[in-house]
Symmetry: C2
Subunit: 530 residues, 2 copies
């Protein structure tokens, strides 16, 4: 029933192990390396995500530089610098020379990266397309700067160190401008097959969207033509740092629990439940065991599979508090508004941060911002800004839960016209999902899967924002109608003054005119509508 | 710039390797295990794909049994049997207990599976959701039958053999009905979280679509309620078996060539090029070396990176024959028509098999079948049957290149009405891409990436089929108009006969009537239109 066993028989051994690096090298489009235009965005994205994560983790206000040079036909040299805490000499090679290596995968805590694939995949892509290894400078505070040249042995998925040396931060070899020097941080240099373009799908737009959602970071981009763009810092405090949590019993898989039992050093079922899961206290643990008819003092590793299953079913029937939500770090309504106003200069903005919710045991939180009018042109359709854990999503819009949520809202109820199911007008909609585990539709982390619980939260947030915007639009429309009436009545005032004077057979037409204008002004004062 | 180095510093070691099984366990939605309804289709699909591949590889006319029982709330026991050649005792555990293991990944040859993930991922999903290991019976011809119970050590991505024994094919332990016995084959049994449903997204529909494209296979499905459905064999010969080819110099990546050089035992650059690539003869090899200004007698491993790059650039400027296409095994127009007619009973069918083409160095071939009218109801929109290497694709239609291709055709030119860009009417469109490497948009192999070269070929095939269908529809419409006129004129014949008789002042009205009917019949004979 399996893989060409015939060939194996007839032509000798053929089955073999496939390294995860070989797998993703051949499937590089799954990681966002579909074409040269997209690939350079992916390279920048993975590095910037890591920089922001690392800075926030250590309470450092982020400084990020992205320097891009064209060095040939469809070939760019990319340099990425940050002021994060830096890495020690043991860590560097594996982080850049091995796929599926990292610190975030096993943690339940909101972060931009989550898979341990991003930056090593960029290094692999560089090596694949230009044959060049990646160069990394990393410096920890008060320590020497390590310079590494690393390549990946793709067939083994292991790093190979080509050069390694300590360099003097005061010396010529040290990268970076002197006016942009930190005594801790990391610089990466790689040469990749790439095409630097402008427009929606561009490094510039990616960084702009990043700046909107992370206004406490200062980001500098130097484009291949030498043009420097700075996204300045507009907030000086980092958001509250998310905390790591343990899994919740509601939503955890049987196979995972069986593995946790194997790895746990808890001596009783009761302490196992309390130690390994969030929101399980002594009382809940005893209740669950009773409900499952299992002695709570038994050693966990004596439990049979069916007993573990009973335990999980019992937990499902037991009321447990929702997981704690300090593992999440939403942007918050203030920052959402600040970001939109700074970059778009709209006439009206509103933002909604929903309370945390849970899908499949994972806490998540949805935020929505709406911006209307002002400098936003009415291009027929609205514009969408999509974010997951503060990272902009530029691709795969049509398969993203954000789009499904927007299309599920009846926008006409909010005085916004629709084309099909999509709202129209001078409108930007930004949607953010923050979660300890965002269910992306691919390793490239380009779109979020259409899960019911997530779409529902997004719809509620959009409706709440929509109502506020709708009220504003209605008021505006009424004001415009009033203004129009006022304008017309005022323009008739002279004639009417004459007519009234004539009808009255006396009086000064000019006075009637002024009186009418005053009446119009008073009756139709738009302030009265507010 | 990387993964939370802060934590590592402050809280000790935190970076670690992530096994590929852990990765996909947490990302199981990428493999098609998104929900219980879809998961059972994925389990059946991976097993059936493997069975058909294995049978064809050994010239065995496939017999496949799919037996499904509900064994609890959202839990199914699935048994999958085939008559392929079977596996030896060394191979079984790894095939079911290790992700990224197989024989197809490193080969350039059309096959249903290509990643070495499918069936082991099903076993992993079973273990994760129900805690149960997979049981496998495999028997090679003339050898004893091996029975294995295997689980996966997810943290190591390695198999663990729980039970292993030789069993007597005549004994009670041997699985399968006595009336359905083969002396070679494999049976798999697993219990998974699953929901057996009917409708478009169902095991039944998946097998029906499989039967349409693989009419030489006999497939039996036993549904949980005991209902047996047989998809009979309607063709008795296997299609031509695809051959393995070597990569083509046009489209191969620099990094891949550098690795090939490392692994090659060729003594000169010239022989390296001839041995490792398709369509490179002595003359082309010498030409390429000359163009790159490299001595063709040099040892390949003395080449610098820049020299390899020059070699590839020189190859790009050199005219090389397209890759051979016997690595492909399209269904062919006959089988396409047979499949559509058998399952849909339409009024009109047409099929187009395009010549092979190449994208990014990979040969591929597109086929299209159109079925119209008859038993096909006009539901407003057309129905789509999507296939990649003869495997039905049921999900992610909107992001699939097939849909983009269909929407790029101007169907109104073929007398088919459109709603937006989609054709309407009693229409089925089947599209098949056969390739040595299908660029799926995810590991779950649910949709094909929207590559220009592929979409173009599909569009051309659709247009060719569309023209034929359009001519048929036009003829039908004209026939209908004629028939309508004839019917009307005939129904007036009596009155006209009377009128003519009256005008003529003589004659038999009945004769005029018959004469008119004859005239109508003759003038509007629809056969004359053909």
């Amino acid at each position: 029933m399996v893989d060409t066993m015939g060939v194996e028989e007839q032509e000798g051994e053929d089955h073999r192990e496939i390294s995860v690096a070989e797998f993703f090298e051949k499937n590089k489009h799954l990681l966002g390396f579909e074409n040269p235009q997209k690939s350079i965005i992916t390279v920048v994205k993975e590095a910037v995500d890591n920089s922001l994560d690392a800075c926030e983790q250590d309470d450092i206000i982020p400084e990020v530089q992205v320097l891009i040079d064209e060095v040939g036909d469809q070939k760019c040299r990319v340099e990425l610098r940050d002021n994060a805490i830096g890495m020690d000499a043991e860590t560097v090679p594996k982080v850049f020379g091995k796929l599926l290596y990292g610190s975030k995968f096993h943690k339940l805590q909101q972060s931009r990266g989550q898979q341990g694939i991003g930056i090593s995949a960029s290094a692999m892509y560089a090596q694949l397309t230009t044959g060049e290894p990646v160069t990394v400078y990393s410096k920890e505070e008060g320590k020497p700067c390590n310079r590494f040249v690393v390549r990946m042995d793709t067939e083994a998925n292991e790093p190979e160190i080509i050069e390694q040396e300590e360099i003097d931060p005061e010396g010529d070899q040290f990268p970076g401008d002197r006016d942009y020097y930190f005594d801790h941080g990391t610089s990466i240099e790689m040469t990749v097959e790439a095409k630097y373009t402008r427009g929606h799908h561009s490094v510039k737009n990616y960084l702009k969207h990043t700046a909107i959602m992370n206004p406490y970071a200062r980001i500098v981009l130097r484009e291949p033509d030498g043009n420097k763009i700075e996204y300045p810092r507009v907030a000086n405090e980092l958001p509250e740092k998310p905390r790591e949590i343990k899994p919740h019993l509601h939503g955890v898989e049987l196979g995972v629990v069986m593995r946790m039992i194997e790895n746990s050093d808890a001596r009783t079922v009761s302490s196992f439940l309390q130690q390994e899961f969030t929101r399980v206290g002594r009382k809940s643990a005893v209740n669950i065991c009773e409900e499952a008819e299992i002695d709570d003092g038994r050693r966990p590793n004596t439990l049979e599979k069916d007993e573990v299953e009973n335990l999980l079913n019992a937990a499902d029937r037991t009321n447990l508090q929702n997981p704690p939500t300090d593992c999440l770090s939403p942007a918050g309504e203030d920052l959402l508004l600040k970001g939109l106003e700074k970059e778009l200069n709209p006439e009206f903005t509103t933002a909604v941060t929903r309370k945390p919710a849970v899908y499949g045991g994972n806490p998540f939180q949805v935020e929505v911002g709406l911006a209307w009018g002002g400098d936003i042109a009415d291009e027929g359709s609205f514009e969408e800004l999509r974010y997951a854990n503060k990272v902009p999503l530029l691709y795969k819009k049509s398969s993203c839960v954000t789009t499904k949520a927007i299309e599920s809202v009846d926008w006409s109820r909010y005085n916004i016209s629709q084309s099909g199911s999509r709202p129209q007008g001078p409108l930007y909609i930004s949607i953010h999902i923050a979660s300890v585990w965002v269910p992306f539709t691919s390793e490239g982390k380009e779109a979020v899967a259409n899960y019911d619980d997530i779409r529902k939260e997004m719809k509620l947030a959009l409706q709440e924002g929509g109502r506020k915007l709708g009220r504003y639009i209605k008021r505006q429309e009424r004001m415009e109608i009033q203004e129009e009436k006022k304008r017309k009545l005022t323009s008739y005032a002279t004639e009417m003054g004459d007519a009234i004077a004539e009808l009255a057979g006396s009086g000064n037409p000019g006075e009637y005119e002024s009186e009418i204008k005053r009446m119009v002004q008073k009756d139709y004062d738009p302030e009265g509508l507010k």
